[in-house]
């Protein structure tokens, strides 16, 4: 789109662009740099030392594990949900549709509170889990549930519109060419939604890595055991372990910037393919 405007646009343009850049610069970039400086202030050596600490490694490992769980569960079930919401017609579909967005409207601490009232001391489901000998609260199952919950909408929201836009024509064409529904799903449908799925999964990852409030409440915060990276940072701040907090926070920030660039790349790739092709 070429840039055009009417009137004395020259000054207006400069002022508006300036305001936008200044605002985003001060609000986003400045704090980010200040964090980086704090972390790398003493050079790279202490940075590496912190990363070699067992409690830090365990926390990063726990975050990776929870993220993988959320990606796998929400990748598959989220895609299936998108199918149900786009393709099927049934009573109560609107309610189901509205439910998908609920995790976005729920405060992370509320999610933690819910899990505690279900699985915590005197929780509603506690008799069942105790009878089965499962340790849910203050252990990784509750943390996994919290992570999966807060990331549930991403894949559904990204895959749904792609599925809707794609329609069923390509699948029917595959049927007329002799492909079974199974083959059609893997050869036609899945490749058709792959960018939506990749995008949704990456968002899921970013959100899972950064999840803090819900996990904090249900983790119990046992160093080296039930701590995620974000919970570690919080405890380190409380314990005046500034170096540890800075380093892990920086690692998290860098990971999210990496994912962000990946998202941008995917958006551009997807954009190139978004025109109707057939």
């Amino acid at each position: 789109m070429a840039e055009r405007a009417g009137g004395g646009q020259g000054r207006v343009r400069v002022v508006l662009i300036g305001a936008a850049v200044l605002y985003v610069g001060t609000l986003v970039l400045l704090p980010a740099f200040s964090l980086l400086r704090g972390a790398l202030g003493g050079g790279l050596r202490p940075f590496v030392e912190v990363l070699a600490r067992p409690d830090v490694l365990a926390a990063l490992g726990m975050t990776a594990k929870l993220t993988a769980f959320a990606v796998v569960v929400n990748g598959t079930l989220g895609t299936a949900l998108a199918f149900v919401l786009v393709r099927d017609r049934f009573v109560g579909k609107r309610v189901l549709h509205a439910l998908v967005d609920v995790p976005f409207a729920l405060s992370p601490v509320a999610v933690g509170v819910v899990l505690l009232s279900l699985f915590g001391k005197g929780g509603l489901l506690r008799p069942i889990t105790d009878a089965l000998g499962w340790e849910v609260a203050f252990a990784w199952p509750a943390m996994a549930m919290a992570t999966a919950f807060v990331t549930l909408p991403f894949v559904v929201r990204e895959v749904g519109p792609v599925l809707e836009e794609m329609g069923t024509d390509q699948e029917l064409a595959a049927y007329t060419l002799g492909a079974s529904p199974f083959v059609t799903f893997f050869r036609v449908t899945l490749p058709g939604i792959r960018w939506g799925l990749a995008y949704g999964t990456t968002l899921t990852m970013a959100r899972a890595i950064g999840e803090f409030g819900a996990v904090l409440l249900v983790s119990g915060g046992i160093a080296g055991k039930t701590e995620t990276a974000t919970v570690f940072v919080y405890r380190a701040l409380e314990d005046r372990d500034d170096r540890g907090a800075y380093v892990v926070a920086t690692v998290l920030a860098l990971a999210s910037i990496g994912l962000l660039l990946l998202l941008d790349l995917m958006r551009r790739k997807r954009g190139a393919r978004a025109e109707p092709g057939g």
Binding site: G7, L30, A105, A110, V114, S256
Partner: protein, 280 residues
């Protein structure tokens, strides 16, 4: 493939539902119900377990009431600033081409990607009592960190994408011919924006602002780090919930959560009702 080999398969054909597919769909729907409906029901049950009167009592406690008011106040201020600045940024991104535009566009999403706890730390390292900038403000007699301004700053950071990303596509879809028609009729850029563009994007701005408001109500990670959490002064509702859990009062935590969730839900419902209305 020969036709004569074809096997009749009864009434279930290409359009029929194979069992596997049905099973997967059932699993998906069940997953959603267990994961989302159950928690909401649990929250409602716990929050109301001792009756409405008790819920009210939990909320009129000065600390709780202060937390709710502070949360609403800061969220409101944030939403207003966000509406204006988000619209301005969206306008600049859609209408102007300038060096660094791509970068600006990508930066808008950064707050979504960065863990909120890390956001809080960023603000403290920049404006905290030990930071140069923080000491500058301190000398000028302005308290930023561990005070409401830092809460608003943190909320602005985490909700930055919401207004921009809601307004941007609408502005993009907007027919430029409308604006050009106004120019040919002699309207200035400002008049054109106010009379032609703004009315068209106003619903999106309101939607985005409401979404950021709802999001801010429950914000925890960034606020817990920057606010200082002094009861009745800088303790927000979400942090209050955390405190109640820490001190073992899950019931009070549930009550406050229920209030937060109810307000968020109402806002989200308004947003989605507006969106559905806008689509016809």
């Amino acid at each position: 493939m020969e036709l004569s080999e074809a096997r009749p398969t009864g009434r279930s054909r290409a359009r029929g539902q194979p069992l596997g597919k049905l099973g997967l769909r059932g699993a998906a729907a069940t997953y959603l119900l267990v994961m989302v409906a159950l928690p909401v029901a649990t929250l409602a049950r716990e929050g109301l377990s001792k009756g409405l009167a008790e819920l009210g009592r939990a909320l009129v406690h000065p600390v709780a009431r202060g937390a709710v008011f502070l949360t609403l106040e800061t969220a409101l201020v944030m939403a207003a600033v966000n509406a204006v600045m988000g619209t301005l940024i969206a306008y600049v991104l859609v209408r102007y081409r300038f060096p660094g535009r791509k970068l600006l566009d990508v930066l808008i999403d950064l707050p979504f990607a960065i863990p909120t706890l890390v956001t809080g730390m960023m603000i403290v390292t920049l404006l905290g009592p030990r930071a140069a900038l923080g000491q500058l403000f301190e000398a000028a007699g302005v308290r930023v960190v561990y005070a409401p301004p830092a809460i608003i700053l943190a909320l602005l950071f985490v909700t930055l994408p919401l207004v921009v990303r809601t307004v941007q596509p609408v502005l993009h879809e907007l027919d430029r011919a409308d604006e050009e028609a106004a120019y040919t009729l002699g309207a200035s850029e400002w008049t054109t924006f106010r009379r032609v563009t703004l009315p068209a994007i106003a619903p999106a701005i309101v939607s985005g602002a409401l979404q950021s408001f709802a999001r801010a109500l429950g914000e925890f990670g960034s606020v817990v780090v920057v606010a200082g959490n002094i009861p009745r002064r800088t303790l927000t509702a979400a942090v209050h919930v955390f405190g109640e859990v820490e001190s073992g009062d899950v019931h009070a935590a549930s009550a406050m959560s229920l209030v937060l969730v109810t307000i968020s839900f109402c806002v989200v419902l308004v947003v989605s009702a507006r969106q559905r209305g806008a689509h016809g």
